[in-house]
């Protein structure tokens, strides 16, 4: 604790990770780094990436290793260290939710259209508005998308490289955090849906409508979905 440097050393930027034994400044002991990760995660209401931790910790620190120790330490406790996309956060254990009535935030009741749109984006991402409409068989109102954007559960993804270059939607870290998901891969039933071919893009026979864009979309979609 005593040898914790108060500020980053000037060379912090170009320091190669995981080679701290070679640096001029000794990194703090791993137990000390664990304390630091603990303090950082406790302090933040939002998930924190390893990169952000590293930037804030003394030169030569290895937040990934420290984090591994910390996760172990909090196993079975009242709060847990959870992974959210490529970031980390401390959240209360779900079995203690009954204690938290006071803290419960009244979430805006989402319409059925909004919930379905959200699910379609999550499972099919990146998804265009046309694809969402194709799946639901009904026009998606502007308000529905706006609401999800406003809640920061979805965001714009890359434009689809098809005629018209339509915008796509993907789910956000806030979404993952909200539903205790480590990544979009952990969506419930994702594997089964894929195995059943229900996430395939299948055009209406004889139509050249949304099928075209979806064909190209798939590899792109996968990469974005699994970008973490």
């Amino acid at each position: 604790m005593t040898d914790t440097p108060e500020t980053e050393s000037p060379e912090a930027e170009d320091h190669p990770r995981r080679k701290r034994e070679k640096t001029l400044f000794e990194a703090p002991p791993i137990a000390e780094q664990e304390r630091m990760v603990e303090a950082i995660l406790f302090a933040s209401a939002e998930p924190v990436t390893l990169r952000e931790m590293e930037e804030r910790m003394p030169h030569g620190s290895d937040p990934a290793e420290a984090l591994a120790y910390l996760r172990k330490r909090y196993e079975g406790r009242g709060v847990r260290v959870v992974k959210v996309g490529d970031a980390w956060a401390i959240r209360t254990a779900p079995d203690l939710a009954f204690l938290m009535q006071k803290e419960t935030v009244e979430t805006r009741k989402l319409s059925r259209a909004a919930i379905e749109t959200l699910a379609i984006i999550a499972y099919h991402q990146p998804a265009t508005r046309a694809e969402i409409e194709e799946i639901r068989g009904v026009a998606v109102s502007r308000g529905t998308i706006d609401q999800l954007l406003e809640m920061e559960w979805i965001r714009f993804g890359r434009r689809r490289m098809t005629p018209g270059r339509p915008v796509t939607f993907v789910v956000t870290q806030t979404f993952l955090d909200h539903f205790s998901l480590e990544s979009a891969r952990d969506l419930p039933g994702l594997k089964e849906l894929r195995a059943a071919g229900l996430l395939d893009s299948r055009a209406m026979p004889g139509s050249e409508g949304p099928g075209d864009e979806e064909d190209e979309a798939d590899p792109d979609g996968q990469s974005e979905m699994f970008e973490d």
Binding site: F42, S44, I90, E103, V105, A119, A122, H178, L198, G206
Partner: protein, 261 residues
């Protein structure tokens, strides 16, 4: 077909009847024709993949008929779907035409079944998603956030030498500076306006605006240009205010003004 209709509208349980009425009274309660089809398909109580599209089409068309009989306005989407299903139904009932191009009726039916199954799957996934532990309901973030204070401090420095050199640079630039907005050769519209306001009272007759140019501004072309432009702009302003009249006999002819009589 008659059987299906009976099945849907006559021999129903109370709950089913209420549901069917809800359909009819409030088409908008359905999230589109696919949603309605999905609801109808549930009455078949079979695997969506094995659904009888023909039967489903009949139920849908019956529903649309019934709704029309009740003079309920149906949204265009529903009618398009009805037309498509009627087409599909005819294709399914008639022996395949070897001449016909395009997808077979079976392909179309299979696709519809796929769409329904996919929508159903998304519904279930949405429900599973919403049943997960939710932040703010089941799990909680730190209540007292201790946000990181971002202190980005940029200090700027300059030496006395920098300062003196900068000043020297500015003060010696006049001889060779590439461009500087030199006000000595600019006659502003405000100046022209002031000048003309004083003179216009005497301009009972048409006078070339050139004669309004201030003294000492007629020689140097740069100064003349600026003064002419300013004077012209000022004339327009005065004309707009109704104080003077402007005339020009032809393009590029001299512009004359006089006080408005």
């Amino acid at each position: 077909m008659a059987e299906t209709e009976i099945n849907l509208f006559d021999s129903q349980s109370v709950a089913e009847r209420l549901q069917a009425e809800a359909l009819i009274v409030d088409v908008d309660g359905f999230e589109g024709p696919l949603d309605l089809l999905l609801t109808l398909s549930r009455t078949q109580k079979v695997d969506l993949r094995k659904i009888s599209v023909l039967q489903l089409a009949e139920q849908y068309l019956a529903f649309v008929d019934k709704a029309k009989a009740l003079r309920i306005e149906l949204a265009a989407d529903y009618l398009v779907m009805a037309a498509w299903l009627a087409f599909l139904k005819s294709r399914l009932l008639l022996p395949p035409d070897p001449e016909a191009e395009g997808p077979s009726a079976e392909d179309l039916a299979a696709h519809l079944a796929f769409q329904l199954e996919r929508l159903e799957a998304m519904r279930q996934s949405a429900a599973q998603l919403m049943a997960r532990d939710q932040l703010g309901r089941d799990t909680f973030a730190r209540g007292i956030g201790e946000e990181v204070e971002r202190v980005r401090k940029v200090t700027y420095t300059a030496s006395l030498l920098d300062l003196m050199q900068a000043y020297a640079r500015i003060r010696t630039r006049d001889e060779f500076r590439p461009y500087a907005f030199d006000r000595t050769n600019v006659f502003t519209m405000e100046q022209a306006l002031d000048r003309m306001r004083g003179l216009i009272g005497f301009a009972g007759d048409w006078t070339d605006i050139v004669s309004y140019l201030p003294e000492g501004w007629g020689g140097d072309p740069r100064r003349r240009r600026s003064a002419t432009a300013a004077t012209f702009a000022a004339s327009l302003e005065l004309a707009k205010q109704g104080q003077i009249e402007i005339r020009q006999s032809e393009t590029f002819a001299p512009i004359s003004i006089r006080r408005k009589p």
